[in-house]
């Protein structure tokens, strides 16, 4: 490696790649060559920087300047001004919403300022396809320590005392899981990394795999030593081609350098890893279904006990953990359980990565200490709701989670407080919703997802999700009945109670939380036949305004479904029972005599 005076860190996570960041990288390299700066300036492709809203992103170090929303046309100007003349380009910098002045340095931008990067510590600063860069920032140091200076029990104790809980959603104490598996005598033992990440809107695991795959490898070798495993599998969903590619490269490089395989670092410890691809089912993220999938069988969960720690892959003791959990392990071993204990709350230690998406100004990936309030995430880091709209709810935990309203914005983010509020930490998906979101529609969306993805074994889950969906769909179409709300609650509770696996056991949550905090919206749909947020199409009414109608018949001619009655010069009338809400009549009317009513109660003419 040569000494360069400037490094251009180009974000090459999937989000920015899809916005053209590889082209930006090429353009930068070409321009630098043209200006003969290639011995002074290095261009590096890193993993996801996190501020996905603003991609493509380039960070210039050592200046710490953050450039965003770049286009290929900006590149020559950028290189000339900043790299040759030393004048950072203001118009390519980040300007916070509602402000005029740009914030040049990444460390001063609100989005980044409040984050605490532990699992994501290497994001945006290393090339994930170069093992040397991972090593440069203390990579594999924890593994060396664990393999040569710690006994398996010491490793387990360290993880146990750190308070680390599984980051896949359930929050089970990781040390306990490892201890249970270590006790088992049967061999061989296996490790699995769950990279199936099926929650809609969640991309935490994808980013970790794309930005810092070696962190996961290192964590797994440490875990292998702790429980006595000889082989591990990294299960990555098929829909993550970049993550698969980067992990393949990482494993190959680690193997080449003797950091995986036989006699790692000369310690006498053997462990190797293999990648397994998912095949498109949400349920295969459930641990026993995932194990079945690795075995080549259909991904369907099975009854536990026996738990995977006792009888897992091919009936052998197996520890299966989430990507984020594995990536946290090296940090704990390197810096100590005490250090980790110092972050977070009493029951939830450490940090958590959230995928902050939806109606939020700063969409992206954030890592925050446990205990931070929702308000700080939404308004501090997230920059609030765009377009001057009001905050309505934040959905946490994917289809297993729930929607929390504005009055709960000061809730601290930790496992217990979120569960008590009816939601769930989940894997980290956080969808922000504004006042133009219909909560009944949100429940419908998640129920549709669940009824599709249920494996179908348990009557309670399969039929429960389908029937809940039927009822909620009918409500959004204005066909709801008063008895529906009680029926929904009963179905949701029993689906949760009687189902065998996590999918069914949390399938009632979208309905239960929206009913708990937004019951008035359901009631408006059912009793008033209106959608307060103006979303449910069937509850939109097209109405002829008597005082403006000239009887010109334009709307009648435009209607594709023949629902407008009226003779020439007479006030026309739209037959609501036949109207398909296409809006053609409103477009055709030259007198603005047709009103589209969304939020107001219907007016009978």
């Amino acid at each position: 490696m040569k000494q360069y005076r400037a490094h251009l860190l180009v974000c090459a996570g999937t989000g920015c790649v899809s916005c053209g960041s590889f082209k930006i990288k090429e353009a930068l390299e070409q321009e630098i060559l043209k200006r003969n700066l290639q011995d002074e300036v290095q261009v590096v492709a890193t993993g996801c920087n996190g501020f996905c809203e603003r991609g493509p992103i380039v960070m210039v170090q050592p200046d710490g300047i953050f450039y965003q929303l770049l286009k290929v046309e900006d590149v020559p100007h950028l290189v000339e001004e900043h790299l040759l003349k030393g004048r950072p380009v203001k118009k390519l910098m980040y300007v916070p919403p509602a402000e005029k002045q740009p914030v040049p340095k990444m460390k001063d931008i609100e989005f980044f300022k409040h984050q605490r990067l532990i699992v994501l510590r290497n994001r945006g600063r290393i090339d994930p396809e170069k093992i040397e860069e991972y090593i440069a920032f203390d990579g594999y140091e924890a593994m060396a320590k664990a393999l040569t200076g710690m006994t398996p029990q010491e490793i387990i104790d360290e993880i146990l005392f750190s308070g680390l809980r599984g980051r896949g959603g359930a929050g089970f104490p990781t040390g306990k899981k490892w201890a249970a598996c270590a006790k088992e005598k049967a061999t061989p033992k296996y490790l699995i990394c769950n990279g199936d990440e099926g929650d809609p809107g969640a991309f935490m695991d994808r980013s970790v795999l794309e930005a810092d795959p070696h962190a996961v490898l290192e964590g797994m070798v440490i875990g292998a030593k702790a429980i006595g495993a000889s082989k591990g599998f990294i299960y990555i969903r098929h829909e993550y081609p970049l993550a698969l590619k980067r992990m393949e490269i990482a494993i190959a490089q680690a193997q080449e350098n003797g950091l995986l395989g036989q006699d790692i670092l000369g310690s006498g410890f053997d462990f190797d890893l293999e990648i397994v691809q998912g095949a498109g089912a949400f349920v295969s993220g459930e641990e026993s279904a995932l194990i079945a999938s690795v075995e080549g069988r259909i991904a369907m969960p099975r009854q536990r006990p026996p738990y995977p720690a006792q009888k897992g892959l091919w009936g052998k003791p197996t520890v299966i953990n989430n990507v984020e959990t594995w990536a946290t392990v090296p940090n704990i071993i390197r810096r100590g359980a005490d250090w980790f204990q110092g972050l977070g709350t009493e029951t939830s230690k450490g940090t958590k990565i959230f995928a902050l998406v939806g109606k939020i100004a700063n969409t992206g990936l954030v890592e925050v200490p446990m205990g931070i309030t929702l308000r700080e995430i939404v308004y501090g880091i997230g920059g609030g709701i765009p377009d001057k709209r009001d905050f309505k709810a934040v959905q946490i935990g994917g289809p297993s989670g729930g929607c929390l309203p504005a009055k709960l914005l000061d809730l601290p983010v930790d496992y217990e407080s979120l569960t008590a509020a009816g939601a769930m930490m989940g894997s980290g998906g956080m969808i922000v919703m504004d006042d133009k979101t219909c909560m009944v529609d949100v429940a419908k969306y998640f129920l549709n997802f669940l009824q599709d993805e249920s494996c179908g074994k348990c009557v309670s889950c399969r039929e429960g999700t389908q029937r809940m969906y039927e009822i909620v769909k009918a409500i959004t179409e204005g066909k709801g009945k008063e008895s529906d709300l009680a029926m929904l609650e009963e179905l949701a509770k029993i689906t949760k109670d009687a189902s065998m696996c996590g999918l069914g056991q949390t399938a009632g949550n979208p309905v239960l939380t929206t009913l708990r905090y937004f019951r008035h919206e359901y009631e408006a749909h059912i009793l008033d036949k209106r959608c307060p947020a103006g979303v449910c199409k069937n509850l939109i009414r097209y109405v002829v305004l008597a005082e403006k109608c000239t009887g010109c018949q334009s709307c009648k001619k435009a209607c594709p479904n023949d629902c407008i009655k009226g003779t020439l010069k007479d006030i026309h009338l739209i037959d609501q029972s036949k109207c398909i809400k296409c809006g053609a009549c409103k477009e055709a009317c030259k007198f603005e005599a047709i009103e589209e009513q969304r939020e107001e109660a219907i007016q009978i003419i």
């Binding site: 005076r5 490094h7 002074e40 050592p62 003349k85 090593i135 490089q253």
Partner: protein, 130 residues
């Protein structure tokens, strides 16, 4: 350099030391920050040669914890080529009327030795960039 051989713990440490030093600039940390002013006036006066000389000296001395950056015109165009040296926790020092020979002297005495070259200094203090 990590290649196709099995690494030992000592190898890991060596790679870390070597690679890390080349990547400290990604951390925006360093012992000192040197800015070569390369506005139009600077470039016309020969700032490119100063930059090349500086990078050469750094390479020769094999130090990795200084940050080299450029900036635009500092305002005192007739004093170009100019250079500002900011040692961490010390006020910035501006040098002017530079030649490669003077640069070498400043490099050894100020950057390596930590002592200002008084007769070449233009100004001390004023705006901090570091």
């Amino acid at each position: 350099m990590a290649g196709t051989k099995k690494l030992t713990i000592q190898d890991l440490a060596k790679i870390r030391e070597k690679t890390k030093s080349l990547m400290t600039i990604r951390e925006s940390e360093g012992r000192a920050r040197i800015t070569v002013h390369m506005g139009t006036c600077g470039i016309a006066a020969g700032a490119r040669d100063i930059m090349d000389a500086l990078l050469g000296e750094i390479s020769k001395a094999n130090i990795q914890d200084v940050i080299v950056t450029t900036s635009g015109c500092a305002g005192l165009c007739n004093a170009e080529p100019m250079m500002t040296i900011e040692i961490k926790n010390q006020p910035p020092v501006k040098y002017g009327y530079l030649t490669p020979a003077k640069l070498q002297k400043i490099f050894v005495q100020h950057i390596l030795g930590g002592q200002m070259v008084a007769d070449l200094v233009l100004a001390v203090g004023s705006e901090t960039m570091y």
